[in-house]
Symmetry: C2
Subunit: 350 residues, 2 copies
């Protein structure tokens, strides 16, 4: 199956440019934006042309590859400086999803091994690494899907938040990858998609992905989750993650933490599907995860339509932190970690 991952490529490498589905325009228009250098790639990440922690990581890797192609004829300090600028620009594009920094670290490591080579060789090495990151992400998502599908009962009504699907990754998806894999394993599943204000990734992206896959999907506003849970309409919750701290605390799209609190109250399993590249072992717990504050205009309206009065103050934190104690299990490519803890996560990496 996996029809969408075949038909729609979130990131498309064209040899001299990176093409990204413009996720701001979905589902009304399916359009690609082309990035020709690191700065354009960073701008696309900042503006949320591409979003979703794993997809951001892949995009940033190709941003470095594009810089290498630009520097094909350069050498020495000027090339080094150009790479430094490219890394800095990409690193500053968004602060919360750790996959961005993880992917850039991989690219930097490859660069260090070919630093003395000619431009074309450097470009080839970095392009190959970016392509590996992309291919591995798809594989990792499929592995997570297989592990996670075992947690999904036949007939499960699965609530999800934001979009942790093919559009957030190299394909298949993390949370929605589990949904896809469960369906592919013959389970009848349905999805409740929280619309996920302010950027409406649930209403626009998750609803669209599920419709493409013919997986039944019901759209609700974020405030309806508690009502549905209290009326017994939700069997499990599965979300993705932007950064998992060493103790299992999870930063994910704003609005995730209330779902975890409500799920706990109603005895509903709360699962987080995230690859190891999302785990930041350098941060002891969720309090250390930087939370991006985005532009007020995202809250005062949508797509140029403004509904809030002029002069109102706004805060717009893009993520919140769910304590590990509320996470029933973490679904990774290496298996399912029940009741995630510092020790359990350490064991996963060893």
């Amino acid at each position: 199956m996996d029809a969408l991952a075949v038909r729609v490529e979130t990131l498309r490498w064209r040899g001299d440019r990176l093409e990204l589905i413009d996720q701001r325009a979905l589902p009304q228009r399916l359009e690609y934006v082309a990035c020709s250098d690191a700065a354009e790639t960073a701008a696309a990440i900042s503006a949320m042309v591409v979003r979703g922690a794993p997809a951001i990581g892949c995009a940033a890797a190709f941003g470095v590859a594009l810089e290498a192609l630009r520097q094909r004829d350069a050498r020495g300090p000027s090339r080094d400086a150009a790479f430094e600028r490219a890394f800095a620009t990409l690193q500053a594009s968004r602060p919360t999803a750790v996959n961005l920094f993880w992917a850039l670290a991989r690219m930097k490591s490859v660069l260090s091994t070919v630093r003395d080579r000619d431009g074309p060789e450097v470009a080839a090495a970095l392009t190959a690494e970016a392509q590996r990151i992309l291919a591995e992400d798809l594989e990792v998502n499929r592995a997570m899907g297989r592990h996670g599908a075992e947690l999904v009962a036949d007939g499960a009504r699965i609530m999800t938040h934001c979009n942790a699907g093919a559009l957030a990754t190299a394909g298949h998806g993390t949370a929605l990858g589990v949904v896809r894999s469960a369906r592919d394993a013959g389970k009848r599943v349905s999805v409740v998609a929280n619309e996920t204000r302010p950027f409406l990734q649930g209403a626009r992206l998750t609803a669209w992905e599920m419709l493409q896959e013919r997986i039944p999907v019901t759209l609700v506003t974020d405030g309806m989750a508690g009502h549905l849970m209290s009326r017994g309409k939700v069997d499990i919750v599965i979300v993705g993650a932007d950064r998992v701290a060493a103790n299992g605390d999870v930063a994910n799209k704003i609005g995730t933490y209330p779902l975890a609190v409500l799920a706990a109250r109603h005895g509903i399993p709360f699962y987080v599907a995230a690859p190891l590249s999302t785990v930041d072992r350098a941060i002891p717990d969720g309090s250390g995860i930087p939370i991006e504050e985005r532009d007020p205009s995202e809250v005062t309206g949508f797509r140029g339509e403004r509904w809030a009065p002029e002069g109102v103050s706004v805060v717009n934190p893009a993520f919140d932190v769910t304590p590990a104690s509320l996470v029933t299990a973490l679904i990774t490519e290496r298996g399912v970690v029940r009741a995630p803890s510092r020790d359990a996560l350490r064991a996963l990496f060893d």
Copy 2:
């Protein structure tokens, strides 16, 4: 102070018509819609030209008065039938807010005492009763405000949901009435307004009311409440109610229940400000409160802008139920009821 209640009248009786602020157009446009009979009034309630439990009650009362004016020259069975139709139409306009049925019951009771009189006398009696309901609501809100203000500390950061303000009532407001009264008592208060999807009463109406009053207000999306509470940015939560069951369970705008659950987790007082007319002693607990299901188009977009994909399923419950156990206190015109229960509510009425 109370500048808004003076400047802006949510409902305006003009002797032969009821003028209502069109709350769909706020804050971009301040316009009035005129209703000349019961059917137009019922349509205005259904379409949410006017909303908020107390305001709906007042509007419905004037709907009956308008019918009486139309029937001024009629008598006997034809007049009785016209009133029956008017009551039925108004009663069917919205199902959850009990103030609608409470106000109609008051009008019906007055009608029964003047049923044998001439049309002008009937019209005068019903118009006078509608005006009493309106005037009493304003008084009741001010009394609630005085009682509630004692619960508000100087400097309190008050989260509210939907709009339980002057626009939801005859003036002053229930939850926002407490905020106004606290400010008028010299307390420095600020408001965090949840935008309240899908109809965005928080973003459009509460933000606008507070700006009019120069009370500091910060707008957030509904999913941000948990994050703000977890970071210690909210001191108390105050909301209104559409129906309070005999045991203290509270039906209010969808998204209220998650706030109560989150407030309990963070040790934040959760207050409900509601007049006795909102208490439905005939319903033992919240499970018996009918929850209105509204049109899917409210969820798939806003004001004609659609962002969800075609073909997606939607549910759109307009209210949820917060169990009494999560309500720190009920603020009424007769005083503050801490830990509301069947006995405590019964005592309030006796």
